[in-house]
């Protein structure tokens, strides 16, 4: 039995091996993650909400974490599965460091590992219920990729999960360009996050923006975005048609 399997059995207090696993449902979930490549590396944004169905249960959940020296992982979906993925990655990075050969896993390697994990779990009908965004810079090469809970993976100049796919990516397709400055990148991400705040029921107004460059990872402290409600059309929308909304 592999080391990981025996550990898992220990705290799973193993049921009969012949139990057929089935797809579960998520309990505490995070919503969109949005990321883009800019001049010096990758910028990634995610809010700090952990929803429990329709209840905005937890409002200070860190959904982006640094991985090793060169990568940043953002997750949407089930938070407990994300926490377990972080444990797997901890072990992966530890074993990599133990080689002590001067080499370290870059974002490509971490992305590939995650893809294999997600796809193999999907094949066993026991998925990790997450959409993952993996960004990083190694040896000057910028990398930004995504893995879904069914193992679909790809790289692009900008990615988003969940609602972000529908609301943020159209904005990014229009306004993203090569060699964005840090300021322009942040403003673009904030534009996306503001739209998500208006239009995604699970969004929470407390977010972090993370930056990863050759130098390393920086995750901003939590902050809130201002919103605008001053359209005249919002004041009396039903005045011409009482009873409407």
């Amino acid at each position: 039995m592999s080391y990981m399997d025996s550990k898992m059995s220990q705290h799973g207090l193993i049921g009969s091996e012949s139990d057929s696993q089935r797809t579960l449902y998520p309990y505490v979930t995070g919503t969109s993650v949005v990321a883009l490549k800019y001049k010096d590396g990758i910028l990634m944004a995610a809010d700090m909400g952990g929803s429990y169905g329709s209840t905005l249960r937890y409002k200070t959940v860190e959904r982006m974490k640094p991985i090793g020296k060169h990568s940043l992982l953002g997750a949407s979906g089930e938070i407990s599965d994300f926490q377990e993925i972080l444990r797997y990655l901890d072990e992966l990075i530890l074993y990599d460091n133990m080689w002590d050969d001067g080499n370290s896993f870059g974002p490509k390697e971490v992305h590939n590992y995650l893809t294999r994990v997600m796809y193999n779990r999907r094949n066993k009908f026991n998925p990790l219920w997450n959409s993952l965004v993996l960004g990083g810079v190694k040896n000057g090469q910028k990398y930004l990729g995504m893995v879904s809970m069914i193992g679909v993976n790809f790289e692009d100049n900008h990615v988003a999960t969940g609602f972000g796919n529908h609301l943020a990516r159209p904005i990014l397709r229009d306004e993203w360009h090569e060699n964005l400055s840090f300021e322009d990148g942040v403003k673009l991400l904030e534009k996306c996050m503001r739209v998500l705040l208006y239009r995604d029921r699970s969004a929470v107004n407390k977010l972090q923006i993370a930056k990863i460059t050759e130098e390393g990872v920086t995750i901003s402290p939590p902050y809130s975005l201002k919103t605008f409600w001053g359209f005249s059309a919002f004041h009396n929308p039903t005045v011409g048609a009482e009873g409407s909304w």
Binding site: G15, Y27, V28, G50, Y52, S80
Partner: protein, 198 residues
């Protein structure tokens, strides 16, 4: 729905310095507590000193996460250790672990989100905090059919552990609740001897 136990103790000891609040399935939460108490006992012997709250919480998380398809229990691990002081970890369904300055759980908690958003403050004293939780549980009892009976509190700090007990009839009354009486006859006898208005 039948009330199987109207005075149950949902705050369970894991070690001298760490307790767990149980909600959801009683059987599931009891068996998880029993396993964690057993693991922590061994861990304490091996470590040679009291277990930390974080270790206890992560053991609970491990069981909750790895048995997520079978368990229906939300747990709150709270305690005090010499490294981090007082700490609270929420472990809802699914096995997410989240450290918080305060947390609520169980079916009655639905009615307390707004209350705590308004009433909780950083840096409350022991007395203020105890009053707050007793008030909160009593508000939940007022509106949640699955809550009732008695309020139990446990205070854990560097000095040790204190258990308190508040019987249901000592709790404050809320909207549309009336002062309990022994009998209608007492009400009739204390008012003037006129016929009742029907």
């Amino acid at each position: 729905m039948y009330v199987a136990n109207r005075a149950s103790d949902k705050i369970t000891q894991l070690t001298d310095n760490v307790y767990v609040c149980r909600s959801g399935s009683a059987a599931d939460s009891q068996v998880v507590s029993d396993y964690v108490r057993y693991f922590l006992h061994q861990h304490t012997i091996q470590l040679g000193q009291p277990a930390t709250v974080k270790v206890a919480a992560n053991l609970v998380r491990s069981l909750s996460y790895n048995n997520k398809d079978m368990l229906q229990t939300g747990l709150i691990v709270g305690g005090w250790d010499k490294y981090e002081g007082g700490k609270i970890y929420g472990i809802p369904l699914g096995g997410t672990i989240i450290e918080q300055p305060f947390t609520i759980g169980g079916s009655g908690s639905s009615y307390l989100y707004g209350f705590f958003d308004q009433a909780w403050k950083e840096g409350m004293t022991k007395e203020e905090a105890e009053q707050l939780v007793v008030k909160a549980v009593s508000l939940a009892i007022a509106r949640d059919g699955a809550s009732g009976g008695v309020v139990r509190t446990v205070i854990i700090n560097s000095e040790g552990v204190t258990r308190n007990f508040y019987p249901g009839d000592t709790l404050p009354l809320w909207h549309e609740e009336l002062e309990p009486q022994n009998s209608l006859l007492d009400i009739l006898n204390t008012s003037s001897p006129e016929p009742m208005n029907m």
